[in-house]
Amino acid sequence: MLSTLVVASRKRASPPAAGLASEGEDKVVAINIRLARHVHRELDKRMTEYLNLTTVALARFTPTPDDLASLLKRSAHKQENPLDVVGINREYLEYLRDSSHDLLAGDVFATVETGLTRAQAVALAHLSYADLQTIARHWPGTVFKFNGARLAGSKVVHSRAALFHTAAAVRF
């Protein structure tokens, strides 16, 4: 029994493929930059450097699973979002749907990274592309709350201290 377990552990000890490891990290950076651009329009060098080192998403998903269900049930929608809001909503929803799959597969870090609850993850993981498009178009405004204060907080401190801020600010 022990020898089998040891062999299994040695297999796991091998480093993950570099491409796969960076792919997951880049997703957070990409979505953070996209969200920050949407909110701040232009990003300076310091902001970009800060965002490149962040490991958690700077936004939190606002709709509850019930909100999503009731929105998708409706046949007619009063709300029609502008194109830029639809675009950012869809990108964020796609990122969340991927992370939901990780979370449901037991990746605990996905909870910290996205701030999703299990109920939200279950609801998001089962959405089709058409559902995402409907939510992106008809949810009143953006589907997330962006933590602009965190990005602003990093700007008021010295650039070297801001580096530590990236890893220390893991709570929304």
């Binding site: 490991t55 605990v108 008021v156 220390a168 709570r171």
Partner: protein, 226 residues
Amino acid sequence: MDNLPFIPASATPSNILLRGVFHELAIGLTRAAAKRKLVIRYTGIKAQAATALHRAIHRHDPASGPIRQYNPAYFTNASDSARFSGLAWNLQGATFLSIYGQVKKSCEVMPHEGWLLLTTYNAYLKATDKLAAHFKTKSPDKPTAEERLMRLDINQAYALLAFAAVNTIPESAELKLKTCPECGVDYLVNTSFETMSQKCPIHTMSENCQRLTVQSRSARKRSTAA
């Protein structure tokens, strides 16, 4: 890093159906370099099996002796708070505790303590990986005291949880998390001292850096004038 199957608090290693999961936990803890006593305490495996597992994974005998207890000041580094590395160390502990709280809150059923420790520790490593890699690549040969990013090991994380009293009475905690209202960062404060006087490490770091920049500028001016 593989995902460890969830273990509820009610699970015991004696349950034959969960034996495999507890062996996975033992492997995970041993790989994270947890003390042998900690592995035994959480997984119920025999001391000989824990030693054999440690030898097989790390190719050397496990360190003998008890699990080090430290003291709260070790984590807040209150006596040496002017040092940059000491401030970064405080943030490391706060990051771990912050993640611990989030992971615990996200569980629908009360999780097993060993599972929670290991999964939180793995998540903490993921959260600090980029920063560690950043410093490593900046000065791989001679990292300065400022650039040396020390991260908690799993045994220190275990001791930190005891001081934060996360699994006992929170009111008796010797270390608590405090959030900076300006930059939103969580940091550790020692409850034995006045908590108001313990400043945010990020702001202290920032002040130190700004002071050093001013000093170096004036020194440069003086040398040019001379």
